[in-house]
């Protein structure tokens, strides 16, 4: 028993099965990210204040370029298969994999940067904000002992922390805070506010897609490429289908970048 049109396109639809499948899957992915983007819109409309300039545009731009390049190498890998140049395919898809890993590394760095960024509400009504330098050995919030050192600043109005774009020349210094003075200390994790919640959720889900795509591409580049000898046409189709997925993941980032970094 053979299922027809697994490799050759069906004459009247002009398309092979897996390609129909991947387009349908991508349609559902559009709805998945669409749901999250509409969540972003509703949260932002309803927010009392929305942070501006919290994410570093330089890293966002770098990652945009990385993904754009990976889209090109994916296409070239497929084109190499189409003209029967297996060596070129191996080279280009190795590039894709390296670019994917670079993207994830940059993203990890950005996550870590938020993770060690603290906002501390002080007893006198001011706010200390900055990256954690060190906590003293006896630092304990509950027992109110020790001090914490941040590389940042102290502001009187919390709104100043939310709008970083309109303030020029923000001076950052070593700030020492005693545990006894701390009312609330929280890092910039997803629990900090709804912006960070949707930022971590959207980019986290996107990063999972990058990871999933890398695993598939890695398999097709490594053990899966044995199919090239047996059935080059089917293998080329696989590269096309996985490439369609990869382009979709790139496209999602093209929306994420302006929505999160530039607005």
């Amino acid at each position: 028993m053979d299922i027809p049109y697994t490799v050759q396109p069906r004459p009247d639809t002009g398309i092979y099965n897996a390609k129909v499948g991947i387009w349908l899957f991508l349609a559902s992915e559009v709805m998945l990210f669409g749901g999250l983007f509409s969540g972003y819109v509703l949260l932002r409309i309803g927010a009392d204040r929305w942070p501006h300039g919290w994410l570093d545009v330089r890293f966002g731009t770098l990652n945009t370029i990385i993904l754009a390049l990976s889209a090109i190498t994916t296409l070239l890998a497929w084109a190499a298969c189409k003209v029967g140049q297996f060596g070129k395919f191996k080279f280009f898809h190795a590039c894709t994999l390296l670019l994917a890993l670079s993207f994830l590394s940059v993203k990890m760095y950005e996550y870590h940067d938020k993770w060690i960024h603290y906002e501390i509400t002080l007893a006198e009504g001011t706010f200390a904000d900055g990256h954690l330098v060190e906590k003293s050995a006896d630092f304990d919030l509950a027992k109110k002992t020790g001090t914490v050192t941040l590389h940042g600043r102290i502001v009187n109005d919390e709104n100043l922390l939310y709008d970083l774009r309109s303030q020029k020349d923000i001076k950052l210094d070593e700030v020492n805070v005693k545990a006894a003075d701390i009312v609330k200390m929280e890092n910039y994790g997803p629990w900090h506010n709804t912006f960070l919640a949707i930022y971590f959720t959207l980019t986290g889900l996107h990063a999972l897609h990058i990871l999933g795509g890398s695993i598939v591409i890695g398999y097709l580049w490594g053990p899966g490429s044995k199919m090239w000898k047996r059935d080059p046409e089917r293998f080329t189709n696989r590269i096309e289908v996985s490439g369609l997925f990869w382009h979709f993941v790139d496209l999602v980032w093209i929306f994420l970048f302006p929505v999160l970094y530039l607005t």
Binding site: M1, D2, I3, P4, Y5, R10, P11, D12, T13, G14, I15, Y16, N17, A18, V20, G21, L24, F25, A27, S28, E29, M31, L32, F33, G34, G35, L36, S38, G39, L42, L43, G46, A47, D48, G189, P190, W191, H192, N193, T194, A197, I198, F200, T201, L205
Partner: protein, 629 residues
């Protein structure tokens, strides 16, 4: 392209026999796969369909059991459940102390009854089971387009169901926030049941997505030569549209589930508003979230889901009515365009579940208008099916009885939905037993009757034997009577103002209101209304007993039912033109289709049915060809 074989009947008896012999003997191509590969890790669409069907029926029985427990608690609040009470205490512990269902347990049972019936019972049975078994046969395909994806889909469903089931036995019990899981309630109830619910749902949604992709790809790509779009049996159309609804409506709920998961695990505030108080204290959350966002995302799935529940059922009824009236279905094209219209419109009616949320009158007006518009194609479908009966010489066999009962029962369910679709009348009826009666009329005597009809109808294809007609009749008449006795009183209760989700059925509420005014006045519920709870309880128990003949009949008939041939109902569609049960690969030769699906009683034809693949005299076989550019 395979060679097209001119042959009718599509295979010869001795040929099929020979094939089966080779199968069991020493066929190098199809070696015997063994028990595990054949029944547990099968990639054959028919086995997967049966797996889905059996699992879904078990879950439906379990959901029914939860309902009986709840009805007991409503009818006799605070009294131990007879017989089963001690068992509940033993298994579930403190929440069922002394065999009494506590309000927390009632809430769990309520939430899980809805979840199980919708996501683990009806959708898998109507869409996945019937779709898997019947659709590839009907379009003349050898299997689904992606058999391994198909297996993965069932496994994800099974795992999701398992997680839902296990959640009853964890400390704190299963989810308690209703099948709709509205936040912030769902996030603030201190149990891990909600976490299990979310993870279970993510698996079920993934399973549906895989299934939907597979169905659509199969219907687009694997139609047999000559099976053009307007020759598809309408059941296939219904499944096609259903698959699109699942594909596009489920992901927003998945997005919402991810966000609720983050609220639960990472303490985000997607759905938790500023100033949220839990237990009289300000909750330690960042706030700024939107409870309405959850409702929008939930009902964006929730309403198309209603059509996921009903369209396959309508498809089944359509096939059975055409076959048993022995005449073509009336208005095939109207049916096709109606189902497509419903599919499109079902994406823009969701907020009619949210009139009372204060989202604004302009938005309510828009959704009221679209809701009224979507009733038009639904009425067209029902009308076509009714008119199809006109002038037919109807065979009243068991599947036909259920299919016929579907029409008025779904009619009641559909028409009672109109007052809920108008936002003025909905203010009174929202969240009452009227709503419960309305959607249960659509789903229970509606969809479930159609599913019973489908089981009786396609059982001979799966086993080569018919289910017993007499006990089928007993099952039908008892189910019909008791279904109505269960659900009809709820309309009255709801209009009298009885709210749903009250663990004591409104006894405390009613007593409090009546005590204050000294008489049964507006706001309280009359004793007659409260007494209906007991009535409904016994009707529900009788309904449960009425299912025993079905269960026994189903298993008994597998080995002892009346033996029948490949086409016992003399039907025209392709699934009856295969050996019984169909072998791996379904058709001995690729079938070729020459005509539409409902060519019954064609004047001048020797029999009163003309199968789709019977070649007309002197015809050339159609081929799948590239369209002219």
């Amino acid at each position: 392209m395979d060679a097209i074989v001119h042959q009718f009947p599509p295979y010869r008896k001795d040929e099929a026999h020979h094939l089966q012999e080779a199968h069991g003997d020493h066929d190098y191509e199809h070696h015997d796969p063994g028990f595990w590969a054949k029944f547990i890790f099968s990639t054959d669409h028919k086995t997967i369909g049966i797996q889905y069907g059996f699992t879904a029926l078990c879950f439906m029985l379990f959901g029914f059991f939860l309902m009986i427990m709840m009805r007991w608690q409503i009818a006799h609040p605070g009294t131990p459940v007879p017989v089963i009470g001690p068992l509940l205490e033993k298994v579930l512990g403190q929440v069922a102390a002394k065999g009494v269902i506590s309000p927390e347990l009632y809430n769990s049972f309520g939430a899980m009854h809805g979840t199980i019936m919708v996501f683990l019972g009806i959708v898998p049975l109507a869409f996945a089971a019937f779709g898997n078994y019947v659709v590839p046969l009907m379009i003349g395909a050898v299997d689904m387009a992606f058999p391994r994806v198909n297996m993965a889909s069932y496994q994800a469903y099974f795992l999701g169901g398992l997680i839902m089931f296990v959640s009853f036995f964890i400390p704190g019990g299963a989810a308690q926030a209703g099948w709709t899981s509205y936040s912030p309630l769902a996030t603030t109830i201190p149990t891990h049941g909600q976490l299990f619910w979310i993870i279970g749902m993510v698996l079920l949604i993934s399973s549906s997505l895989l299934g939907a992709v597979n169905f659509i790809a199969t219907i687009i790509q694997l139609r047999a030569p000559g099976m053009t779009w307007m020759r598809l049996p309408w059941f296939v159309w219904a499944q096609f549209v259903t698959a699109f609804l699942l594909l596009l409506a489920f992901p927003p709920l998945e997005a919402a589930a991810v966000m609720q998961l983050m609220d639960n695990v990472a303490h985000t505030s997607f759905f938790l508003p500023t100033g949220l108080a839990v237990g009289g204290q300000l909750a330690n959350v960042s706030g700024g979230g939107s409870p309405l966002l959850w409702q929008h995302l939930f009902w964006f799935l929730g309403h198309p889901e209603v059509y996921v529940l009903i369209l396959p059922a309508m498809g089944i009824v359509c096939e059975i009515i055409a076959c048993n009236t022995r005449k073509p279905i009336w208005g095939y094209k109207s049916l096709v365009y109606s189902v497509l219209t419903i599919g499109f419109l079902s994406f823009i009616v969701w907020a009619h579940h949210m009139y009372l949320t204060g989202m604004g009158t302009k938005i309510s007006t828009f959704f009221q208008a679209t809701t009224m518009i979507i009733s038009i194609p639904s009425v067209i479908i029902l009308t076509c099916l009714f008119i199809s009966l006109w002038g037919g010489s109807i065979r009243f066999n068991t599947p036909m009885l259920f299919a016929l009962a579907f029409l008025p029962m779904f009619g009641i369910g559909g028409l009672t939905g109109l007052p809920l679709g108008f936002n003025v009348s909905d203010v009174h009826l929202h969240d009452t037993y009227y709503v419960i009666a309305h959607f249960h009329y659509v789903v229970a005597p509606g969809t479930i009757f159609a599913l019973f009809a489908g089981i009786y109808y396609w059982f001979p294809k799966m086993t080569g034997r018919k289910m017993n007609e007499f006990w089928g009749g007993v099952h039908f008449w008892c189910s019909l009577i008791f279904m109505n006795l269960v659900f009809m009183p709820m309309f009255a209760q709801g209009m009298a103002g009885m709210l749903r989700r009250m663990a004591d059925g409104g006894a405390n509420y009613s007593a409090a209101v009546n005590a204050r005014s000294g008489a049964e006045v507006i706001g309280g519920l009359s004793n007659d209304m409260m007494a209906l709870h007991v009535w409904i309880l016994w009707a529900a128990i009788a309904l449960g007993i009425a299912q025993i003949p079905f269960i026994v009949n189903l298993f008994w008939s597998i080995a002892h039912g009346e033996k029948v041939g490949d086409n016992p109902w003399n039907a025209t569609t392709l699934e009856w033109q295969t050996p019984t049960p169909p072998p791996h690969g379904n058709f001995i030769h690729t079938p070729t289709v020459y005509r539409g699906p409902y060519e019954y009683s064609v004047p001048g034809h020797a029999t009163d049915f003309t199968p789709q693949n019977e070649p007309p005299v002197g015809a050339h076989a159609p081929q799948i060809s590239t369209p002219a550019h």
